[in-house]
């Protein structure tokens, strides 16, 4: 007798199917009537549910109990319950936009982000009494998550859809978060290797916008410069500081050339002069190239509304920079 998949006892088929993804289960479901009945069974979907959301029996029992008490028309299969929850997860971006750490923890509870240490579950038993406690707890929670996974969700275009790009900047420059090193993973993920500083900056603005405050802008640009230096160890900048200052000068040039409010546009030799204040080793050709590229296409054209439409922060910094140069 030749035994096939369909002749197996149902509990064994369920066991096999629990190793599959939703997509694969849906393929098996479309093969024949017997397998379809297994593929829509509660037995399978409770297992899949436990596996995906890392739940134990208690949660399943609670849900089953809720169903028993529910009105007849409110009862639905576990498959529907699972798929509904699967589709719900997309709403993580509004959560992040409101409070970043809440959004990230939500991703964890949805099984999208792994814990930092796979052997150890994040601790989550801090008593929350006040609002400060809550912020602290949210922050502690995120500290226990996998940084690579977080960066992936912030940068991957499909996963970060709807994300406020300025909120990303606010989050990765948050003093409590900086130590986690999310920013360096984010920079690595964007990838600056083998391109000029100006190209890197354009790429950077596809994913992240400048924050609203001058102080955070300075931190962010510094993180960018670090990321650039890490990706290009043999670049013309001998230190992160030099890359940072030139980044800054480029942003100033961009604002200057493309802002309607500024009538007297910066000339090439002024730009070269400014740039050379901090690093006289940079070649004129490199700076000319940057000047003409920026003149031709503003950095902000990559982003509707412009990357530097928060003039307040930049002007503060501009002042600081100019004072720095001419002190």
């Amino acid at each position: 007798m030749v035994l096939g998949l369909t002749e197996l006892p149902i509990e064994i088929i369920v066991r096999i199917l629990t190793f599959l993804s939703v997509r694969d289960v849906s393929a098996v479901l479309q093969t024949c009537a017997h397998l379809r009945s297994v593929c829509i069974s509660d037995a399978l979907w409770t297992e899949l549910y436990k596996k995906r959301w890392m739940q134990n029996e208690d949660a399943i029992e609670a849900e089953n109990k809720r169903r028993q008490n529910a009105r007849e028309d409110a009862k639905s299969s576990w498959m529907k319950y699972y798929l509904d929850r699967l589709l719900q997860w997309r709403s993580w971006t509004p959560r992040f936009n409101a409070i970043p750490s809440k959004g990230l923890w939500y991703l964890y509870t949805e099984g999208k982000i792994r814990p930092k240490n796979p052997e150890q579950l994040p601790e989550d038993d801090l008593d929350v009494l006040t609002e400060t406690d809550e912020t602290l707890r949210d922050h502690k929670r995120v500290l226990q998550l996998n940084v690579d996974d977080i960066a992936e969700y912030l940068i991957d275009p499909a996963k970060s859809e709807g994300l406020n790009k300025r909120q990303i900047a606010h989050y990765i420059t948050d003093p409590r978060v900086v130590d986690m090193g999310i920013h360096s993973t984010v920079m690595k993920r964007i990838g600056f290797s083998g391109i000029s500083l100006e190209e890197a900056l354009r790429k950077f603005f596809v994913y992240i916008r400048l924050p609203n405050s001058g102080k955070l802008t300075a931190i962010l640009l510094r993180q960018f410069a670090e990321g650039y230096q890490d990706a290009n160890p043999g670049s013309m900048f001998s230190s992160v500081d030099e890359a940072y200052t030139l980044t800054f000068t480029i942003l100033v040039l961009d604002t200057d050339l493309h802002s309607d409010k500024i009538k007297q546009k910066m000339r090439l030799n002024t730009f070269v002069y400014l740039a050379k204040q901090s690093n006289s080793m940079i070649s004129n050709e490199y700076l000319e190239q940057i000047y003409h590229n920026i003149k031709r296409s503003p950095l902000s054209e990559y982003i509707p509304g412009g990357c530097i439409n928060n003039k307040g922060g930049l002007v503060q910094l501009w002042d600081r920079l100019i004072y720095g140069f001419f002190k």
Binding site: L3, G4, T6, I12, F19, V22, D24, M54, Q55, L87
Partner: protein, 170 residues
């Protein structure tokens, strides 16, 4: 004092000797042994397992006889979420080779492992079949497992529509 080898009778009426260690890897045989202390001269009947399949099972038990026993974690983690990295990757090279067999043999071993309650082997066979199902279209699955297509066109159209929305998710 129990003897060091156990004899079992398979479905095709062959008597096979297996070591106590291997026999105890099967929860089913193990509990039979516990139930019948002193009567271990008699061969244990295994009416659901053929000698050919049993030999395969013994092969596997021989290779894995020194594996640490699976730890029961469920109770310990009950108060918290149970984090179990469950995926179907088969990491052991010997196992990979072992599952490289005809579907009929795989299914027989799976059923035997289920009947004899050899956890590791059962898990391995399930993983293997899951891997065979992965990433295939319904047509490819039918072909691979020789499944008769008994769904109507309307059924299929309705299912495609219902599943369209979630198809790209994980």
């Amino acid at each position: 004092m129990a003897s060091e080898s156990i004899s079992v009778t398979t479905s095709d009426d062959q008597t096979i000797q297996l070591s106590r260690k291997h026999a105890q890897m099967s929860q089913t045989i193990n509990s039979m042994l516990e139930d019948s202390v002193g009567a271990d001269q008699e061969a244990i009947p295994l009416p659901n397992v053929s000698s050919e399949v049993l030999k395969k099972v013994i092969d596997w038990c021989t290779h894995h006889e020194n594996d640490p026993a699976p730890v029961e974690k469920v109770k310990k983690l009950n108060k918290k979420r149970e984090y179990k990295a469950k995926n179907s990757t088969i990491s052991d090279e010997w196992d990979k080779n072992f599952v490289n067999a005809e579907l009929r043999v795989i299914v027989d071993i799976l059923l035997a492992a289920n009947y004899l309650d050899v956890k590791g082997l059962f898990e391995l066979m399930c993983k293997h079949i899951a891997n065979e199902l992965k990433g295939k279209t319904p047509d490819q699955i039918r072909e691979r497992f020789g499944i008769q297509d008994d769904l109507t066109e309307e059924d299929k159209a309705a299912m495609r529509k219902a599943w369209g929305a979630t198809k790209n998710d994980s």
